[in-house]
Structures are given as C-alpha cells and as structure tokens.
C-alpha cells in the first residue's frame, strides 16, 4: 500500500470530502495495518488541553465574581501577562515543549456533556459508519446520529433520529446508551435495529442478538427497564395514533401516554430476512404493514413526497420485498397484489387515489 495514498486519504478525511469508496479503502488500510491505524487516530482525533472540572469551575467563578471595570475592558483588550525576561521566557518555552507532548496526549474532551459529532443521511441515502469504539452502524435514509468527542473513552452516548442498525462493539465497562424519541436503550455489546423518525407515530426496536435494556421516556433513574431478548420487537406507540393489531400489551406509561407492545419479528425459517432489518442489505421490505406506514417508508427510501388522497386505503395491509427496484415498479406490485389503488407521478410527487 502506497504511503502517499494513505496520507491523501487522511487529508480527504480531515477535509470531510471522503466518498464512500474512499471510506472503504481507508477502512481496509486501517484494519490491515495497526501502525497506520494508530497514525490515523493521532492525526484525526481532537486533542485538547484537559482542565480538571474543579479547576474549570474555579476559573469560571473568578470571572463571574470579578468586579466591573468598564473603561478598562471597553477600550483595549489588554492581555494580562506576566512580564518575563527573554531568556526566562525561552526557558519556559523549553519546559513547555517537554511537557507539550504529555499534555496533548490527553484527548477527547472536556465537553463531555455536549454532542459534537454528527452524521446525517438524506432521504434515499444509506450509510455505513464505524465509530471510534469499533461499533458498526448502518444509517437508513433521512436519519441523524450524534455522539460526543468523549465517545468510546468516557462514554458511549448516541442520539438517534430516524433509523439505524447497530452492531455494538462489546465493552462491559462502558455501556452504550442510545437515546431516541421517547426511549433510551442501554447495551453492552449486541446488534439491534431502531426506527424512530420524528414524523412517525411509532418507535420500533428489534433485537437480533445479545441483550438490551429499554427505558421508556428516557427515564434512567426511575422506572424499570424493559428487558428485551433476541427476536423480540418493542413498539412504542404514541396514544393518539391509530391503534394497530396489538399482540401483547405490556404497559401504558404516563405522562406521555405511550402504548408499548412486545412481539416477535424473527421468522421461524432463519433464511427469511425479517422486513425490519432487510433495509441494511439494500432491500425494501414490508411484512403486513398498513399502507400509511409503507408510504412513509417509500418517501424516505426514494426521496419523493407521496400524497394519499384516498384515506380509506391507509389501513390496508401490504407485504412485499424489493431490491434495486424503482418506485414505479413497487407501486405496480402493490396494485397487483390486489389493493385497489391508482397513482400518478408528476412534479416530483406521487399521488395515490
């Protein structure tokens, strides 16, 4: 592997211009070469001077408690520095240099409480991401994901809006918390899918492997978590939404009035890919889902607004599985399956009537 190419890829990474192909190329290099992986980490991860929280608080208080000197502060932004002699200063510089490496070796961040790294997909777009701790994430269309600079070091907190499949790197001492609409999931190492779009009434969590604890309403301190085992799907439904064929009702939580349902999503035949997680293999699949839900999925998959004129169709259940299929073909098959619908496509909008 050409050294220059590696540095070119680092350059592209820093400039945030890495495309999917280059991302894959870079990932392959980092996997194959531990030394380059280390160099990459050092050249791309933020390093800042670490000020202990107590010291930071002290400096904050000093400023808040300072007496007001309007004239001084308005006119000149004078810097209060100690006057060192030149040699003295050089000595300080030298000492600093010796210490600099040590100071800069701390990375990550004092901004432990703020989300700082953001990933986003547009409608119609899907991305595969590897996080600093080795966790692998597939991000479906129209989704946003955020984590902190301290991710993988001090915490593993993630916020999600939209849909993502998580293959979480195992780390018992640093659990991952995934916060989504009206819930937080605690995991140690496992794989699961979360669908939680702001414009959809339901939040769905499907566990493929491992164990997760699901806290409704992000209530980590009070309230018991729901323990989820592989094959289970937890659906959190906002109360005002249309009721659906409930399998087993688990609880109704105040005050947001959420209805929580548990069901099985894995098929008896393991060769059949469940529709909930087929998307990460570029397959659009529905398993007896209401047309209204399918329309929301189609909009995000094909990045085109769809208007349902005939509301009577909304609750009709549709099944199907599509790979590399254009939207017209999907609509054609839905119609073929026996649903009495017609549609027009124009002005970058689809109307179903």
């Amino acid at each position: 592997m050409d050294d220059q190419r590696f540095y070119d890829l680092v350059h592209l990474f820093l400039s945030k211009q890495l495309n999917d192909q280059e991302q894959a190329e870079l990932s392959a290099i980092l996997k194959a070469d531990a030394e380059r992986a280390l160099i990459f980490q050092e050249l791309t991860s933020a390093k800042k001077i670490v000020v202990p929280a107590s010291e930071l608080e002290k400096r904050f208080q000093q400023i808040v408690d300072s007496p007001l000197h309007p004239e001084e502060t308005i006119e000149t932004p004078v810097v209060a520095i100690k006057k060192h002699g030149y040699l003295k200063y050089a000595a300080v510089l030298l000492i600093f240099l010796l210490a600099a490496g040590l100071i800069y070796r701390y990375y990550g961040s004092s901004k432990a409480d703020s989300y700082a790294v953001f990933m986003e997909t547009k409608n119609g777009e899907r991305k595969e991401i590897t996080l600093p701790d080795g966790t692998h994430i597939w991000l479906n269309g129209g989704s946003k994901l955020a984590y902190k600079h301290s991710f993988g070091k001090e915490d593993r907190d993630i916020r999600l809006e939209g849909e993502a499949f998580f293959d979480v790197a195992h780390n018992k001492s640093l659990p991952m918390y995934v916060e989504a609409k009206n819930m937080t999931i605690k995991v140690v190492g496992t794989s699961f899918n979360v669908r939680s779009y702001p414009d959809e009434a339901n939040t769905e969590t499907c566990l493929v492997d491992g164990i997760i604890e699901l806290y409704v309403n992000k209530n980590l301190k009070h309230g018991e978590p729901i323990h989820v085992v592989p094959g289970e799907k937890i659906k959190i439904q906002a109360q005002e939404a249309e009721a659906e064929t409930a399998k087993e009702e688990v609880a109704v939580v105040q005050p947001e009035k959420l209805k929580i349902q548990k069901s099985q999503f894995l098929k008896k035949d393991p060769s059949i890919q469940p529709s909930e997680i087929a998307w990460k293999d570029n397959t659009l699949a529905f398993d007896a889902e209401p047309l209204a839900v399918i329309i929301s999925k189609l909009e995000k998959w094909y990045n085109i607004p769809i208007v349902l004129k005939n509301k009577a169709l909304a609750e009709n259940l549709v099944s199907g599985s599509f790979k590399d299929t254009d939207i017209e073909t999907v609509l054609f098959w839905i119609k073929e399956s026996g649903l009495n619908l017609n549609y027009t496509i124009n002005n970058n909008q689809i109307t179903i009537y």
């Binding site: 945030k16 930071l56 808040v64 932004p77 810097v79 200063y89 510089l93 961040s109 702001p198």
Partner: protein, 183 residues
Amino acid sequence: MNPIPYEIDWQKEIGKINDHRDANAFKLLFHHFYTDLLSFSTAISNHQEASEDIIAELMLKIWQQPEKLLGVKNLKTYLFISTRNLTLNYLEKNKVRDNYILSNPEITQQDYNPEDQLVSKEIIQKINQAIEQLPPKTKMAFTLVKDNDCSYAEAADIMEISIKTVDRHLQIALAKIRDFLNR
C-alpha cells in the same frame, strides 16, 4: 421528543446574559468554548500559562460586555478570531519569534518518557513533535480542523484566508508529518 441539538442558539444565550446577567447561560458558553479556545491559543503561543490569561480576559469581556456580542452571527468563528488576534498581539508584544526553538529539532527530540519503549508511544510522541514543529500558519490551520472540528470554511473565516489556502496548509502539514515519521 428531544431533537438532536445540532446547534445551541447562541444568540438566545447571549441575549440572556445581556438581559439579566444569566450566569447559567454564561456557564454554558464558558464550558462549551473554554478548553477549545485555550488549546487553540496555546497551539499558537506555545505557552499555556499565557494563553490561560488570554482566554480569561476574553471570557471576562463576554461576561461584562455581552452587548458587544449581540450582533454576532457565528459565535464560534467570532471567539476563535478574537483568540487568534489576542494571542498574536501577545506574541507581538513579547517579541517572541514564533518558531524560535521550535525550528531546532534537536531540542525537541528528547525523550520525555524514557522508560517507555513501546512502539506505539514512540509514534504518538513523534507525531506530537512533528505537529509542534509545523510552521505557525500551517499549525493553526491543522489545529482548527483537527482539534476544533472546524470545517474548511470556518477555518478560512477564522484565519482570514481562502478555503483553498486552508486545504494547502493541511496538505503541507501532512507532508511534513509524514516526512518526520519516515525520517
């Protein structure tokens, strides 16, 4: 539901500081920017103690004269430009040649952690040395993009240079680090 906080509305927070000296709003600002600005200033000054004074002064100004920030559209850029200017003024005042000593690799090549012979530590040390020895502007651009999560556009605004020049600095930085590592 909680939307992802893509950005804190700083105009709103500045408004709170200005209207009723809201210490919580100022605390948010202080905690959000303090270490970023201190690290950035120190990268320019090579003198953490002096940079601590510089950032304290800047924060004091914000707390005591928030009205000056009312019209600021991009707080991050504003604070980084202020920090850059204050730090350069400090260097000018103290007539410090910014790459004095730094240009002399022998001095920095000392091993400050001699008992540790691990290869990975050596690489990390070498990278840190290489970054330390970058030319001032190149180092500034590299620091902004790498450590302060600045986009090229933000770094260009802060340094008052073109985006293309930022890219060029990054290219120079990586070439120099690569040379240093392969030496």
